[in-house]
């Protein structure tokens, strides 16, 4: 055989034939090397081999190997190499020091064989034996890949997720499970990952998709963890199909938006309703007022009496509208509570001062007991006032003799959170047990066997209880028919 034929045969070898100087500079680069590593001859010659095909984390090991070959004369070893495109592969390397007598120089001669595929098969069998049972028992899809990006093991769930037959994923590049647009970045991520392997949990915020065998995509969530064995390092991926969850999230978001729209519509409705109801009342209350003021002229006694009836009905209607709106606002959660530090002593004193004339008119005594030091509580002043006024005015309304007793006390204090208690006791007609059950319902009024038409809107207690709940408290009632009633408001700080 001629030297030319031998040279041609060397070029035809599928393995990479590389010759370097003892410093590691490439002087020969076979066609096999191009085929395996991706660099053409002109890109390789005169370049340091370490820059071409050695991954960053292998650099120091490579230099050590080179020194050993020069010193000892030969070496056979396994290594991880890097292609021109950045992807990794496993190689078996046979190296020998060669003395070129005619040029009086030492060279390093290497043949590198791509063993990635074989290694995957080998690792696969090992991993399978060791981990198959465990991996089959999890509900998630599990894919184990080696640093060169090939699937060493995939459990049945993963195969089903991506639409592959049993065993079909082994030895395939893990990238094929990703849509094309992710693949390029994934190669980089993978190499990075092996440099700094760390657990990454699901839901790290990336919107990922998986690619099924049939070409369809589906949203996935993955978590990664490194797995180290004596043979090699692997990446374990747990994959979850989150299509259903995404659909539920979307439906939830849409229903939330719809809810927000409905609430807004309801608020507009409340505001408009308030306006519409008050407008005609303006004329009713207004003109009965001007007539009773005798502006257009004098009135007969009967005319005046009838007009007063209209006026009182008009005022009742207005009170009803106001209370209804308050109830509607509370029901729809629209009441704005203004929480501030309230001096409860001052509050109850204000209420008694306001209602004293009414009590005196009926010959009732209005008594007030407050703690010595002013009881300060973080709550809404207007709401609490409204409740106390309502309960006290009820007490006055339903008593014909005797007294109404208002007591303010500190009920409890723990971790500097105070709870106040306001009791309103009267000596009035009392409430039967039967009626007590319906006490706080809307529009409940009781047959008190009195001649007078029922006063009030029937919403006072209902509203008061709703307000008390909004403040985080309660209203309770103790009563005996014919003896009187005691209403107790409990308000925690909040």
């Amino acid at each position: 055989m001629t030297p030319e034929t031998v040279a041609l045969m060397l070029e035809t070898l599928p393995d990479a034939v590389i010759v370097c100087t003892t410093e590691g500079r490439v002087v020969h680069w076979s066609d096999g090397a191009r085929s395996i590593f991706g660099y053409v001859t002109s890109e390789a010659i005169d370049h340091p081999l370490i820059e071409l095909i050695v991954p960053a984390d292998q650099a120091s090991e490579h230099r050590r190997m080179l020194k050993e070959i020069v010193a000892k004369g030969s070496a056979v070893y396994e290594s991880v190499r890097r292609r021109k495109d950045g992807s990794l592969l496993y190689v078996d390397v046979s190296s020998r020091r060669f003395v070129n007598a005619e040029a009086n120089e030492s060279l390093v001669l290497s043949v590198e064989k791509d063993v990635t595929h074989i290694k995957v098969q080998r690792d696969s069998k090992l991993m399978d034996a060791r981990f198959r049972d465990l991996l089959e028992s999890t509900p998630d899809g599990i894919v184990m890949a080696n640093p060169t990006g090939y699937i060493v093991l995939a459990n049945t769930q993963a195969e089903k997720l991506f639409g592959y037959a049993s065993g079909e994923l082994r030895g395939r590049p893990v990238d094929m499970l990703l849509p094309e647009r992710y693949r390029h970045a994934h190669v980089g991520h993978r190499s990075q990952y092996f440099l700094q392997p760390r657990k990454r949990a699901m839901g790290s915020g990336l919107d990922l998709s998986g690619l099924r065998k049939d070409g369809t995509e589906f949203p996935i969530e993955i978590s990664l963890s490194p797995l180290h064995t004596e043979e090699s390092s692997f990446v374990l991926s747990a994959i979850r199909d989150i299509s259903e969850r995404k659909e539920i999230q979307k439906a939830l978001q849409e229903s939330n938006e719809e809810l927000a729209r409905a609430n807004l519509a309801k608020d507009h409705f409340l505001a408009n309703m308030s306006h519409e109801l008050r407008t005609p009342l303006n004329a009713i209350i207004g003109f009965t007022g001007t007539l009773l003021m005798k502006l257009p002229g004098p009135l007969t006694a009967e005319q005046e009496k009838q007009l007063r009836t209209v006026q009182s009905s008009g005022r009742h209607l207005l009170a009803l509208i106001n209370d209804l709106l308050d109830v509607a606002k509370i029901e729809s959660g629209k009441v704005e509570l203004n929480r501030e530090l309230v001096d409860c002593n001052a509050l109850v004193e204000e209420v008694t001062a306001t209602l004293r004339p009414q009590a005196e008119e009926k010959g009732l005594e209005l008594l007030l007991t407050v703690p010595e030091t002013p009881l300060l509580l973080r709550t809404d002043h207007r709401a609490l006032s409204q409740i106390v006024i309502n309960l006290t005015s009820n007490a006055i309304k339903f008593s014909d003799h005797g007294e109404v007793n208002l007591t303010l006390a500190l009920r409890a204090e723990s971790d500097s959170v105070r709870t106040a208690e306001i009791a309103i006791a009267d000596t009035g007609v009392g409430i039967s047990e039967h009626d007590q059950a319906r006490l706080f319902g809307a529009f409940s009024r009781f047959n008190t066997s009195r001649d007078k038409a029922p006063e009030g809107t029937g919403l006072g207690l209902h509203l008061s209880q709703k307000l008390a709940h909004a403040l985080g408290g309660t209203i309770t009632c103790q009563s005996e028919l014919g003896m009187g009633s005691t209403f107790v408001v409990i308000v925690p700080e909040g």
Partner: protein
């Protein structure tokens, strides 16, 4: 000298009520049934006080306020909002927009004149009262 008062209100019953009360108290009353006319009447007559409904079609109370304040010839503008809205925060909105005051509907016919006189200097108050007193 009793003040000239301009009422801008699209509801005829409400307009009638306020006009009646003011006239009975001795004030000179000017009327407009919509915002656009209201602005025109103001520019022509320069009344001492304006009572303006908030909710009117086409040009509402806020629109009237804006136009009058933007007009350099309209000085000494005293304008009170009359409104049937009653949510907490409505009053703040009205005062922040630049109204001098706010009266809530339904009005109290017995207190109404005293309430609006709070916005007028004493020399513009009417000394004339109807025989039964207001």
């Amino acid at each position: 000298m009793p003040a000239n008062v301009l009422i801008i209100e699209d509801n005829s019953a409400n307009l009638e009520l306020v006009a009646y009360l003011l006239e009975s108290a001795g004030y000179v009353v000017l009327v407009a049934t919509n915002g656009v006319d209201g602005v025109a009447v103001f520019q022509r007559e320069m009344p001492d006080l304006v009572l303006c409904d908030l909710q009117m079609p086409r040009l509402d109370g806020y629109g009237v306020l804006e136009q009058l304040r933007a007009d350099p010839t309209c000085r000494d503008l005293r304008i009170i909002a009359l409104t049937a809205f009653s949510m907490r925060g409505d009053e703040d909105r009205v005062l922040t927009a630049g109204f001098d005051g706010y009266l809530s509907k339904p009005i109290d016919p017995e207190k109404f004149i005293a309430q609006i006189e709070a916005f007028l200097p004493a020399d513009l108050h009417s000394r004339h009262r109807s025989p039964t007193g207001l």
